[in-house]
């Protein structure tokens, strides 16, 4: 009687629960490995873990903090998800985020409308539209270069991240600098997204709750992206091009046009995240408005298996990682955890394609 491990290709459909199980397992494993590394360099993983939950889900104000950090991730993650559906590697969400923040700031800093007299809803709507335009512009460039010259979008989107940050710095340090500080003056109140804390005088439980309207933008965007992907003709085209570009070409789909459009939509979502961050959290344009949301969004999208609603859930987990990362030492730890999670996720995908079976056979080995 011998026992052996058989690895074989799945011929049947993957059970519906398995992708979720592998995703959850990957996160769990990543925490364990992260803990081992922490212990090796002399930290106390259990105390850190306890601290992690305390600092991220321990009370209403910190839960609100976690969701505030999740808000830009939802939008950026959705942007990555729709681009990745078409196997379009937009790694430039960070730059698109900054351009969105910049274009939204134009509305009140140039200014386009007089923020003192214009109603809040007009200012906010204008900022959101401008933010999406800014991000879309930053997505259009690599999209057009890919469509026209077949230029690899991974490198161009990445290079444009740096360009966007230097561009923003010029305005922050120079033209819009507030009395020589490296930030713009604070936006007028009409350019602030409404927050729970704004109503603390009426409802005292809201005091200190910084959750702002941006999260609604994120949830709406999730529904829209879900509808596009699952229900619309365009979504079908996007998925077809992603899965089988040759078949898509034979079917007469305009791939170049779709490359540009999807890059622009992806950029617009990241740009909206940038707008939501300056208007809902920072209330001014300054350096480092993003602790790498654009890059974390990539992991979020992948961990969510490009499912728009899963993006929302995963964003909350990563929002927690960012909140905790600000306080947990050493500071690179949350970065490290993100990398490990992503690695486990892509490794675990092998379980979706192959089946591992334990086979017992009673055959007698020759000569035994």
């Amino acid at each position: 009687m011998t026992t052996r491990l058989v690895i074989e290709k799945r011929t049947e459909d993957v059970p519906a629960w398995l992708p979720f199980a592998t995703a959850a397992g990957s996160v769990l494993l990543a925490f364990i490995v992260g803990g081992v590394i922490l212990a090796l360099i002399g930290g106390d993983p259990f105390r850190t873990l306890g601290f992690f939950f305390q600092a991220t889900f321990g009370s209403w104000p910190v839960i609100s903090d976690t969701i505030v950090k999740a808000t830009p991730l939802i939008m950026v993650g959705l942007g990555c998800a729709i681009a990745f559906k078409m196997k379009l590697w937009n790694i430039g969400a960070e730059g698109q985020f900054y351009m969105g923040a910049f274009f939204a700031s134009i509305v009140v800093l140039i200014p386009i409308v007089d923020p003192e007299t214009t109603p809040k809803w007009i200012v906010i709507t204008l900022m959101a539209v401008m933010g999406m335009l800014g991000g879309a512009l930053w997505g259009f460039i690599p999209g057009a270069l890919k469509a026209r010259f077949k230029v690899n979008e991974i490198i161009t989107t990445l290079m444009l991240n740096y360009v966007a940050i230097f561009w923003n710095n010029f305005w922050i340090f120079d033209r819009w600098s507030d009395a020589g500080f490296q930030m713009t003056p604070q936006f007028p109140r009409s350019a602030w997204l409404p927050r729970f804390a704004d109503y603390a005088r009426e409802i005292s439980a809201f005091s200190g709750i910084t959750l702002h309207l941006g999260v609604v933008f994120g949830l709406l965007a999730a529904v829209v992206i879900w509808w596009i992907l699952a229900r619309s003709r365009w979504g079908y085209e996007i998925k077809l091009i992603g899965d089988n570009p040759r078949a898509a070409e034979y079917a007469g789909l305009n791939i170049a046009k779709n490359v540009i459009l999807v890059m622009m939509l992806s950029g617009a979502l990241a740009g909206l995240a940038g707008m939501s961050e300056v208007s809902g959290v920072v209330h001014r344009l300054q350096e480092r408005i993003s602790p790498g949301y654009g890059f974390t969004g990539i992991i979020v999208a992948w961990l969510a298996k490009l499912n728009p609603f899963a993006v929302v859930l995963v964003s909350v987990l990563f929002g927690a990682l960012i909140v905790a990362g600000r306080e947990i030492q050493p500071s690179g730890l949350s970065n490290l955890l993100q990398g490990i999670i992503l690695f486990f996720i892509i490794s675990s995908d092998v379980l979706l394609r192959y089946r591992i079976r334990i086979e017992r056979s009673a055959t007698v080995e020759a000569g035994a």
Binding site: F170, G332, V350
Partner: protein, 321 residues
């Protein structure tokens, strides 16, 4: 603005890009796209710097940098070769992982002063006017290693038997397999080589070209520029070295442009308003995009380009390449 100084510095910083880009050329020639260069370089920079500090020997630092970045690259190799995961996503996670590891383990290295890779002059050659001071004087030993390394790599890839196997695996893995070449073995090996060279590139920064550990700022995107350079260089080590030196010179030229009050008799706007320097800092990144457009057009025109099997996992008996 001294052209001699700019070229001299260009060769030094270009050496970093040269090592990283040639490493990536090896990996990509075997069919493995590894976008984790930036992360592997950071690990190399941190490990090399830390080792030199601990052991007092910069050469040991180089060795540890290469081995540790090489080991890191094996994670990418395992996931993409055996598990057939998407190479783009795996490469990205390698960058996250490498950056995180380097920051966590590099805690406390900032401000330290380990022994560095020595500088040297080449006798006789250094005496040639202009060429001597630019190419053969006051350079890190690593720069001279780069001069020799580049043509050797070209010869290896194009004129030797193992080099031919490497190209076969990247272009026609199924055909290579029928000839008894181990596709997986070759891919693992050159992914590891790519990782080692990225580690060397990182340590070249931290132990030689711009010494020190400044966490993620140490590499500041040079790993990504190196990946772009590979396409610009059409997977050719000689062109990669040339491109690397050119980029190095541009980076230095940008710094120098902000120094003098007047250039060619005109007021220097970058001196008057130092904030305009942000536009100068954009140029290497914009230049990379231009280089890519140029490289992609040349590739389409000449019908050359990426190794045919780049990014595609090989499974024996499956349809594909």
């Amino acid at each position: 603005m001294n052209i001699e100084l700019i070229l001299h510095a260009g060769l030094a910083t270009g050496t970093v890009l040269l090592f990283a880009a040639i490493g990536e050329i090896f990996a990509e020639r075997s069919g493995v796209l590894n976008l984790g260069v930036e992360g592997m370089m950071l690990v190399g920079a941190m490990a090399g710097f830390g080792t030199s500090l601990a052991l007092g020997n910069p050469w040991a630092g180089l060795l540890v940098a290469m081995v540790s970045a090489g080991i890191l690259s094996l994670a990418h190799a395992l996931v993409t070769i055996h598990f057939q995961a998407d190479q783009v996503v795996s490469g990205l996670s390698l960058t996250f992982l490498g950056t995180g590891l380097a920051l966590v383990l590099g805690e406390g290295l900032t401000g330290q002063n380990p022994p560095l890779i020595p500088e040297a002059d080449i006798p006789l050659l250094a005496a040639i006017p202009f060429v001597g001071p630019v190419f053969f004087q006051d350079h890190s030993v690593l720069v001279y290693i780069g001069y020799l390394f580049t043509p050797l790599c070209w010869l290896y890839i194009h004129r030797t038997r193992p080099g031919m196997h490497l190209r076969a695996v990247g272009e026609q893995p199924a055909a290579a397999d029928t000839l008894g070449i181990s596709v997986y073995g070759v891919r693992y090996f050159y992914t590891f080589v790519g990782g080692m060279l990225a580690g060397l590139a990182g340590a070249t920064i931290s132990l030689s070209v711009s010494p020190g550990w400044y966490s993620a700022q140490t590499t500041s995107g040079q790993g990504w520029i190196a990946v772009g350079l590979v396409i610009f260089a059409q997977w050719n080590p000689l062109q990669a070295a040339l491109g690397g030196y050119l980029f190095g010179a541009v980076r230095r030229g940008i710094l120098d442009l902000q120094g003098p009050a007047r250039i060619l008799g005109l007021t220097n706007p970058f001196f008057v308003n130092s904030n305009l320097g942000f536009f100068l800092q954009m140029t290497p990144f914009l230049l990379t995009i231009l280089a890519l457009v140029w490289g992609s057009r040349a590739a389409t025109r000449k019908r050359l380009g990426a190794p045919a099997a780049l990014g595609i996992p090989y499974v024996r008996g499956e349809r594909g390449l």
